[in-house]
């Protein structure tokens, strides 16, 4: 349904131009959750803003590739133009529920604003729809809360309001950019299961962006792992977790502490993620990779496959059984 093909997002002009996201492709289907995993600075959030049509121009722009939704090209099309042209909707919820709502406008009005644009309804009809949406995201006393201001709500409640606003836009695809990172652990699980449930009720696809592999394994149907602005491995969630092909994927999984293993040193990946434009040749993970050889720093790795859905970009993929 949503198809991103060879997306390149660049920043800067002329000689100082760098590609922040290069050659990213993925697909999202209805009622499926795609997890996009990577460290900070890997280009996850920029990718999602590009899909939303909300890249901050002129600092960042789409230099190549395409974004299609139900066959319509929506590349670089801001949300209001998507509405005008009758293209399908992509909605987004953000990492910081504290700052993502307008502090001086009651939340009901903020939802109604979206309802009016996407349903064409006004007045009491739009207001009732807003209340219905608040009930769907399980906000107690929805009617009363319509007049509440964001500062009167907790972080978890604000994130639910954000989800209600996103749903008011009747999206085909919901992008969730680390929506639980800023929330308490107990609230995190509630928000995650809510997103999973709404994905079915609203018949939409979800692009779930996170650096938390635990969350991905519970929520996602398939996973794309991003590193240095590229997707280095993607596949169905069980396949990718059981048989990681790329050393970076396996490194990330080793970083998750295992309580059953008792006390031991935390595993880390040595070094730091490259800055955009820092590595232009070969595999971008090569400087930090235990398996790297000379060819890794000179030649771009080819695609290796493990079945029809699972693939990675690596010269020396981890063989089955090894690690």
């Amino acid at each position: 349904m949503l198809t991103v093909r060879n997306l390149v997002v660049s920043g800067g002009k002329g000689a100082s131009r760098v590609d922040i996201v290069s050659d990213v492709s993925f697909e999202i289907e209805r009622r499926k959750v795609l997890g996009l995993v990577g460290e900070s600075g890997s280009g996850k959030s920029i990718t999602s803003l590009a899909v939303m049509g909300l890249l901050p121009h002129p600092q960042l722009w789409v230099r190549g590739g395409s974004i299609e939704l139900d066959g319509a090209d929506i590349t670089e099309e801001p949300p209001y133009l998507r509405v005008e042209r009758g293209h399908g909707g992509v909605s987004m919820i953000f990492q910081e529920p504290m700052t993502s709502l307008n502090p001086v406008v009651p939340i009901g009005d903020q939802i109604v604003e979206a309802v009016r644009v996407h349903d064409g309804s006004t007045g009491i009809t739009a207001r009732n729809r807003a209340q219905e949406l608040l009930e769907m995201v399980r906000i107690p006393d929805a009617r009363l809360q319509l007049t509440a201001y964001p500062h009167e709500l907790s972080g978890g409640m604000r994130q639910r309001v954000m989800i209600a606003i996103a749903l008011a836009c009747r999206p085909q695809v919901l992008i969730a950019d680390e929506p639980t990172t800023a929330l308490d652990v107990t609230v995190q699980m509630q928000v995650l299961s809510l997103i999973r449930e709404l994905c079915d009720t609203f018949d939409m696809g979800v692009l779930f962006i996170t650096h938390d592999l635990g969350v991905v394994s519970e929520l996602a149907d398939s996973v794309s792992v991003m590193y240095g602005g590229k997707i280095v491995e993607n596949g169905p969630v069980e396949r990718l977790f059981n048989v990681p092909l790329h050393p970076y994927t396996s490194g990330l999984m080793n970083c998750v502490p295992d309580p059953s293993a008792g006390h031991r040193r935390f595993q880390t990946i040595p070094g730091q993620a490259p800055k955009p434009g820092e590595i232009t040749k070969g595999c971008r993970f090569a400087p930090r990779c235990r398996h790297a050889q000379a060819v890794c720093t000179t030649d771009t790795p080819a695609k290796v496959v493990d079945g029809p859905l699972h693939s990675a970009q690596c010269h020396f993929p981890i063989a089955r059984g090894a690690s």
């Binding site: 502090p103 406008v105 201001y149 836009c169």
Partner: protein
Amino acid sequence: MLFYVLRRTGAALATLAAASVVIFVFIHLIPGDPIYVLLGDEATPEQVEALRTRLGLDRSIVTQYFYWVGNVLQGDLGTSIFFQDPVTLIIRDGAETSILLACVTMVWIVLLGVPVGVLAATRHGTWIDQGLSGIAMLLASIPTFWVGLYLILIFAANLGWLPSSGYPSIFEEGGLSNLRYLLLPSLTLAAPNAALILRLTRASMLDVAKEDYVRTARSKGIRPQRVVIRHILRNALLAVVSAFGFTFAALISEAVVTETVFALPGIGRLVVQSILRRDYPVIQGVILVIVCLYLIINLLVDISYRYLDPRVELE
């Protein structure tokens, strides 16, 4: 809310009491003597002494202060040494000009400063923005008397559209049409102030535009104009409104140059002339009224915040 206003009024009265001491002491520290202003250099010592006693200036400064405060509390600001008229009447005459001038000027400032600031912010980085910011910088830098004189030259002397000086009260013959006397002075006063509000609006808009909730607003698919007005400007105005308050107070108390250029009988000119004449009761009275004005405007700005920003708690 009521409790808040009462508490703030109490604090304001304390400020006022402290201010009255400062005003009184500093005015009497100004070198010079109103007696010689009135009698000239050739007065005999006897005449000087007689007048000094009549005006009460022979008493100690502490006695004079309490005498003055006692009268102020009864609504009597004293009698002008120079005019021999009650200070309250003199201030009332000046206040009409000053308040009307400030109001007309505020209209210009709001109508020019805010929309043009919004325009500059939405065209951020383009030649429109640079041009407008440049003009604003220029207007903020040109001396007021220069702008005033050129406006007189163009609209009064050459075109003959508007009067060049003076201001007959709107309660006298001509009524509200007398406001045309205030058009050129208000434009003169508005120029630098509108420029500042423009720059403040622009800077505040650009700050707010980076906020996450503006991105949320865009993601909803609402039109860019609506994002600018309802989400960016609405929040940017929080910073601008407090500037409105101080600007208004300053327009009343600091319009001396404009009042002089256009020969307006306003408060600013009254203060300066009274200082030159060492007319203590008038200076004290006017400054006291201006202090009150600042306190009231401050309170009004704070209360208006309660309505502009729901996060503000007044209690």
